[in-house]
Subunit: 424 residues, 2 copies
């Protein structure tokens, strides 16, 4: 089947998108009810809620015509065979763990929509030339053990065994938690998939930002999961009496830090696809009548392009050095984190774009400033992401929301991409 | 005696300024040893240390030829009669309470130097046309009851009876503490002096700032005790994910606050004799990967001229409003404190200047950004202040220091001013 034919077919399958969306939303609510604490959504890896959620998703997968199982790291995997058995698979998924007091959509929307897409294929009796596997990753947020992407790293074959000794807040190690959950930590590497069995990884996720809302679009194509740097900047000047030290004799660390905050903002703005944030600031001694002798800020810089990010980082460091030198402050810049950009494969983006166009939407490409399982999956296969608009860009918060119309639009684009999928 | 004659006399009296300075420094150490906690200098009002310090100072006063007593608010007052008994007096003094973990010089230097000046007169058998009274105020810092200038307000007749109900950290009221100390709260108003008995108030104090050091001068003349305003500024924007919200869609409260910090600095710099300080800052939620939705800063603005201060305050408020409007932030500006300028009387400044010139120093006039007892004494009489250089401008800290040479210079200028004093 050529792509045009496949897209035509996906529309036929989705004769009742509103009904599909209604089912997706119902399942979002069902999954949200599985939580550590009533009144909020909290579901961390290897907890009783993890087990209950996994069982529910596995049931949905089987109802959608998939062979479903939990893998060695607690991921749930459902396989819908292609025209020939044991064909390489297009992997489609997201995660089903949450942050504490989370929204209902971050993760589950991608898993549930993928299951619905397969259910549509299955209901229509359609087999594609390739298999489709739906994956629900067990631990993307990393809330319990402070180590993100456990599920996708295991599946991609890059699981770090050292993580097994990480402890949760109660002092329980990941190893102990897995055993208590009924999994064998020594078998994690069996969760790893072979490259030849995987054609690509595709993920639908809420945007967690305001761009689609601003652009009045329900769905967008992700260009890349941005690389990121984090820094801690310490500025040391001279504390003094707020009343007695003339302006010209001051070495005010907070005034210097304020210039740094504005430099981060201006340089991020000047870069292409860069965001820069100072989220933390402290001035000491911290009395209203004392000139701050020390100020400390955090800096978070992200860009879809690694070269651009490195350029902005370098500009920010230069700016801080210049500010400190001009003000007689001592600056210390400590890098606390760095990860490179995970590029969404252009050939996959083009196929998502075709599905978007077929569904009648303008194609908007945007970077993902937040991290996703694709950062791990890229080590296994080319990957791409579809973003769905979320209200006000709000995420990691109970107010996180997606309209049922946007759920339908996302489902249509995901199904269109799956049915129109052409391996590279 | 004309002024020239008096100054000549003061030099003769101070034939051995180094010896006088050595005695002052010795007494500074003796007084510093009277402390609530070993290893630091802490002496608060109506404490056992207050009693011991008062007794020591009263002894020194008597040794210097003065009739000495503790008044109804715990001030120590020594009187050296003039040529005629019961003549109106020039009051000279400072305070002998301290902040917690204080330096040794802030307050005591002025009291001890004044006693030494009178001792020099007394030793030489000199009587002036006016009486000289040395006052050691009991509570300038206001550490124990959070109400400053208790001693000088009582003497100036402006003591607020409501302050008697103020409680210390142990829940003891000022009233109870006075009674336990052996004073009668109902007799405080007897500490008030009559205007006709007081010719002027003169105080020598360490600068607590870096101006004299910068100007390479041991002593300076204070123009005024600066008026001050304090504000709390709350800025509300929109929190968001540091990775997902593009720069153009942000309402970053901390970026706005940073502009406010720099506006305070720039507008203070632009004003004449103005200092402006942001000593406190907080950004919430305060995570490295979250755009701050809220930021709060303190603002402290002081100026020797009330009109200039009001102008700068108005400019700062306008700047904050402009910054908030441009950035889509909500700004709330809360005034938390205001006090007007206490001007040092020009006729007294001229007499201090003459003593400085006679002692061979260049006359530098500078404002006091810190508060002093003169703020209360100005309600009773014209007042003026002499500043003595302190190392690095450091005060309210154990590292507070004055060289013995500067102690000698200060003593010479104070004695010169006292002996050359001409009532208005």
């Amino acid at each position: 089947m050529d792509r045009g034919g496949a897209i035509t077919m996906s529309r036929a399958l989705l004769a009742r998108p509103a009904e599909m969306a209604a089912r997706i939303v119902r399942r979002i609510e069902e999954l949200a009810a599985i939580t550590e604490r009533d009144g909020e959504v909290t579901r961390v890896v290897f907890s009783p809620e993890h087990r209950r959620a996994a069982d529910l998703i596995l049931t949905w997968m089987r109802e959608a015509g998939m062979a479903a199982r939990m893998d060695e790291i607690g991921n749930v995997v459902g396989r819908y065979e292609g025209e020939a058995p044991s064909a390489p698979a297009l992997l489609v998924g997201s995660h089903y763990d949450t942050v504490r007091n989370a929204g209902k959509w971050d993760g589950p929307l991608g898993v549930i929509t993928a299951i619905e897409a397969v259910a549509a294929l299955s209901a229509a009796g359609v087999r594609l030339p390739h298999a489709v596997e739906v994956v629900g990753f067990s631990d993307e947020e990393g809330v319990r053990f402070s180590s993100t992407l456990l599920g996708s790293r295991a599946l991609a074959g890059t699981f770090d065994e050292g993580a097994l000794e990480a402890k949760d807040a109660d002092g329980i190690t990941l190893r102990e938690a897995m055993i208590a959950f009924g999994l064998d930590p020594d078998r994690i590497r069996r969760a790893a998939r072979r490259r030849e069995d995987v054609l690509a990884y595709l993920e639908l996720h809420i945007e967690q930002g305001p761009v689609l809302e601003k652009e009045d679009l329900p769905v967008g194509v992700v260009t890349a999961i941005s690389g990121a740097n984090r820094f801690r900047v310490e500025l040391d000047g001279m504390a003094g009496h707020a009343g007695t030290v003339p302006m010209g004799l001051r070495q005010d660390a907070l005034a210097g830090a304020s210039e740094c905050v504005l430099a981060v903002e201006a340089l991020a703005q000047a870069g292409i696809g860069v965001v820069g944030t100072v989220g933390q600031i402290a001035a000491t001694p911290g009395a209203a009548n004392v000139i701050p002798g020390r100020a400390v800020i955090s800096i978070d810089l992200r860009a879809a392009d690694d070269g651009q990010r490195r350029e902005t980082v370098s500009d920010v460091v230069d700016a801080i050095d210049e500010i400190a030198a001009r003000r007689g402050l001592k600056a210390r810049i400590i890098k606390t984190h760095e990860n490179g950009t995970a590029l969404c494969a252009p050939w996959l983006r083009a196929q998502i774009g075709a599905a978007l166009t077929a569904a009648g939407h303008r194609v908007l490409e945007l970077p993902s400033g937040a991290g996703h399982d694709g950062m791990a999956m890229i080590d296994l296969a080319d990957m791409a992401m579809i973003f769905v608009r979320c209200r006000g860009g709000v995420s990691h918060h109970p107010a996180e929301h997606v309209t049922i119309e946007d759920v339908a639009a996302g489902a249509e684009v995901l199904l269109g991409t799956i049915t129109g999928f052409q391996p590279r």
